[in-house]
Symmetry: C2
Subunit: 83 residues, 2 copies
């Protein structure tokens, strides 16, 4: 079993209304030092290990997990502790 | 300026319907090897550096970014490239 971590972020230049809303809220909570906020997804997959694991996870990102038009993704493989 | 990365994940034992939905979709896309999916948030903050930076970001997590009842959070500080 492998633990795979996928980080999905909006591409540079893509407007992030959720990030803007969080930034405004942080300012109203008296955190003026926050200059920018970008919100993305962090997905943890437990996947049966296999010879083409990274290739298959890349396909999962391209097909479902990320929107290639506006999002970038980054994959990290980690040895999973036995469940 | 400092780039701060915040990882927010559901606590162990908290049901993750979004993760279950993604897992079902991956199975229907012919990725049976996926045993479990957990979805969280990945937030990138650009913050003016200061003596209490980590403490302040922890407060931001406790007050707004994470729901302490059902979510865990992890903070990573990174030297930000000048914008």
């Amino acid at each position: 079993m492998k633990k795979v971590q996928v980080y999905i972020t909006l591409k540079q230049g893509v407007l992030d209304p959720q990030g803007k809303a969080i930034q405004t809220s942080l300012h109203s909570l008296d955190y003026p030092e926050v200059e920018d906020v970008r919100v993305g997804k962090y997905i943890e997959l437990q996947v049966e290990d296999g010879p083409e694991l990274e290739k298959r996870v890349t396909q999962m990102c391209e097909q479902l997990l990320a929107n290639p038009v506006i999002e970038d993704y980054r994959i990290e493989l980690e040895e999973a502790r036995s469940l």
